[in-house]
Symmetry: D2
Subunit: 355 residues, 4 copies
């Protein structure tokens, strides 16, 4: 990281950037009101910080050991003199702002009628973003893989339904990309691109999605520590895309005997991540619990922990759903979740991040 003097000229800054590029690295330039900070993207171990420190206009040059710095509050603070919470715009919705954001919809899109009926239901319940899975990651090749599991025409048709439902009910839409081959297709249709937990470590996919420049909803893998999660997030930030919504959806359960939930929701991750990074954090209680009777309590807990939103699977008739029916709630139940969460959010009020 290279901190420029407050009176450094544009030319001096450019000289530093060019020197960085000459080393085979990329430069990330943050211009604050008072000073400019230049981050090195790539393998810093070969960078001659001693030499950088003597270049004209440079105040300080040193290696940062942390595997994530572009997304770090601490790093950003140097340039900005403060570390504002990132607010991400998707359509007419702001994620990370003063209002909670609720994303809801079917686990998998099964038909146009199913999608529109659910979209209307979640809109009425107060949701802001419509979700719907088309390329479903599945443990078994012998399970239903979503409409994206068939021909490209089927996938495109499902994407068109999703777009149309979003437009019809005035909600931005989000769907998951599972492989690099889907990036161009999906990016044309959606407002937010989801990267699922199973793809968290897939750095080539992360890079190719980030380059689309659209907001990304990025889920933590169930075996990943928080440091790993943030380190891989950095792969997207390194492509100059900081519109990243982080999502906690549960880690592997521990202990012998019957497992009462599919995963263990790690709610401490919410305040921890919010201290480490300026990116907004949401909770997915549906996949964490794997059972609908816990959604209400986990949603309340997630918001009380400080999450800025929730992603919830909804179906008008959960038993009919082809995937994950046991964890879906109805639009009526969603309405109760949303209104209680909003009350909790108001009750707690603004939170101090930096104590």
């Amino acid at each position: 990281m290279i901190i420029m003097k407050s009176d450094a000229t544009r030319e001096q800054i450019n000289n530093v950037v060019n020197e960085i590029k000459r080393l085979g690295l990329r430069a990330d330039v943050s211009r604050g009101d008072f000073r400019t900070v230049i981050g090195l993207v790539g393998d810093e171990s070969k960078a001659p910080f001693d030499r950088f420190a003597t270049m004209p206009g440079v105040k300080e040059a040193r290696m940062i050991e942390t595997p994530y710095k572009l997304i770090s509050r601490e790093y950003t603070k140097l340039a900005e003199e403060e570390s504002p919470q990132k607010v991400i715009k998707a359509g007419n919705v702001e994620i990370g702002g003063s209002e909670l954001v609720f994303m809801a919809g079917p686990c998998a899109i099964e038909s146009k009628a199913q999608l529109f009926k659910i979209a209307e239901g979640v809109k009425m319940a107060g949701a802001h973003v419509l979700r719907g899975g088309i390329f479903k990651p599945r443990t078994s090749v012998h399970s239903f893989q979503g409409l994206g599991g068939g021909s490209e025409e089927e996938a495109r048709e499902a994407l068109e339904w999703l777009r149309a439902a979003g437009d019809r009910f005035e909600m931005p839409v989000v769907t998951e990309i599972r492989g690099e081959g889907q990036v161009d297709l999906v990016a044309d249709y959606v407002d937010i691109i989801q990267i699922g937990a199973r793809n968290m470590y897939d750095q080539d996919l992360l890079t190719s999605i980030a380059r689309k420049g659209k907001p990304i909803l990025y889920k933590r893998h169930f075996g990943a520590g928080i440091e790993e999660f943030l380190s891989f997030t950095e792969y997207m930030a390194a492509e100059d895309n900081r519109d990243i919504i982080l999502c906690e959806r549960g880690i592997l359960p521990l202990g012998k005997g019957r497992s009462y939930t599919r995963y263990t929701l790690d709610l401490a991750a919410v305040p921890v991540i919010q201290k480490e990074t300026y990116l907004p954090v949401i909770i997915d209680p549906s996949h964490a619990a794997g059972r609908r009777d816990l959604i209400f309590s986990l949603s309340c807990a997630g918001i009380a922990a400080g999450a800025c939103g929730l992603m919830i699977e909804v179906h008008y008739n959960p038993v009919e759903a082809l995937v994950d029916g046991q964890q879906m709630i109805t639009p009526d139940e969603l309405k109760e979740v949303i209104s209680t969460c909003q009350n909790i959010h108001r009750t707690i009020g603004p939170r101090k991040i930096n104590d």
Copy 2:
């Protein structure tokens, strides 16, 4: 489990109980308004349920496979026709009732002055129960073991301080027992006996504590599944002590890299355990987090998840504490935690357990 007919006579019930004892098992008799249910405590596999079913007054006799039934809502329901939440009385405090209960105090008692100063602080902040460790479980024999680590007189003196502080500030008191040799001594002084996470599996200790007939605060081990936790709880219920407060305090963190918290607080355990058993559940955010800046958020989340109280470590000057200073909050911070949690509790209102 043996369900008696609604018109079964006392003699018929006694006959069944005697037959159970003859087999080397114990009988747990629940007399409801409408019928009586007799549970078998011990190795049921040898019990001749066919023969029981033909005894006079018996309506139904069958084996229950679950490792916990005495503490189970489902089992109790058979006798009671409903499954009321257990409310446990400790001094003038009710745990599991309509009001939240806050237990607070120092991690380890260090001196009379330290204890009284903290006790006064937590009382002013709104706490209901005073905690203070005397026999401290420690990973290293080379760490401070609490005042109980010295002579018996020192331990007794510390217990007297704890009792006196509880009386002075009108709070029931709780401290941990770590070994069977401490049971008689400690039971004389405290209102609630704590069994720490590391002793969760110690069935002989559980049994000997349960026999004291006092309320027990029982913490889940950091490597234990919920089924195991409840199965070992059953060892205490089998001694006919149902005054057990269950406490979630975090399980082992998962994933590579830096660990941002000491443990992973499993908040889904709260609604899960409350569906399985009628015993009250509290949260210990201090040991789960291991850092004070997360206590507020985790406390709010725990109450929002449905916990009926919290146990929090408090010190007027955390940096002075001999044990766990980095996770303690001040009385002023406790006050803020308590008032926000009570607001959340009121906002959410009564919760449906059986949906």
Copy 3:
């Protein structure tokens, strides 16, 4: 799964296959000496097994619930009347046969000279397959990403070195593919394609690699259960590629405090997987341990557990290595590992799989 009668005609078999395709599923036909078994690939839940059972030539038709069946010993047995261990040919080497196979080489290829020097060393030490990383999966975008992290020309040059080193020292070569964009390029150069632990869940990558028809070395993710590992293996088998070598390389370590190894090598996975599937299993002690002083003991243990080979990172001067130097051993140490492992293998002799 549909079992044909022993005298079923080719036409009857074709009729069944066509009916399967009509349902949008794929058919996997295993012709044994005595009977033919047809597996359904895809979402079986919609398949009308009742109707299949009445088709001419069909002996039995039923749904198989397990998420892996194409790679399962049990399933194969139906067609083959026995379940032979799969022997995979890569160049002049057989993996899964009566002789152990040792794969060795640098973690990352750094230069032609480095690669050739190590290749010669491991060949002299007795290794059979040459490994060398070009596209390195790394936790941090700020770490060296392998020569594949630069331009496509650099990646191609490194692949050419690897091919040349393999040809020069008469060893088939293996390298890792990390993203779909690398599949065509890499497949032209190598004998075995490696899929690393972090990509284990990446079903689109699995599918596109499997279609290349080359042998695959597939590593278990550090958070994956064995059932998940085999279920995702099935994605490749469903592309009609069964030349899959499974590799155990350690799961997440558990417990508080210092971690003495990078991962926990799960050696019970070796006999377990060999009972479940006919695919060969090897061990990677280098990544599991993360420290060279454990490689000898873990290698011996892996072979004693029944693994049919090892993959080991080797460098003539480990402290020079850009990646993972602390876990590399020298060619001399490799020689000792190989000869001791071969002695253990001979000492134990053939193992009974099906008891």
Copy 4:
């Protein structure tokens, strides 16, 4: 830790020891041929090392941060100038010496006849130590708790059978103690006292067992890291009992889906622990696997990893066993395990610990 000069007098040493005691700590004196090292047992943080350093005869005085040092190779080396492997004598058997040691017998003693028949079988098969459970730790209070679960007379009778079987077949005997109330009783009868995985953290039990001065077989908890395991071992060493055999028996399995083994055997723990401490390490494949068809492979792997022995559950007719029948092998199978393990041990030869 205080290192005395090579010419320090006995009086100078005593002065240091007395000063340590005055601080409320205990002193552990190791007299090597060349110098004497004095370890402090207890909370070192209050020890004035500066002052110690100026006492006559003292060469060096400093705090050791590691939670285990009395059992550490590194610490011992200072006094001994080398760090010999501890060889523990139990009856006529040496554990940790040049020969492997096999401990075998029933999971639970059920009757005198059952025990004697199994004892004879394991002796014929080549076992050296007879095991038999009397106080069984069980997850459910509703399961058979061993003969120790009944009256004290039954427990005593079972202990007499065990003693008699050991004498009759010339094997030292080992059984588990689960609670402090059993220590005096059991210590009278057995040659080795076992502390089970579930009691690993029970520091009061550890202390009271260590004081009996008999060899201890101490099992790692399934949620414990190696550092924790060794830290708690230190509680026994602090009572001046170093006759401790450490046993790895599996940690919690990880990952979703079906669990193919009860626990995950962590074989890297064997070489790791042997580098950290001079205490012998054995493996219990029976509890780790939970299924008999893996015992052979895991036993071979354990010995190949460097374990100095095995503990295996044996029954002449596993399906009859009241506890854990599915993981027991027969005496004939044990014989094959023992002879193959001895061959592997000879094939590998002596191992370098300190590289």
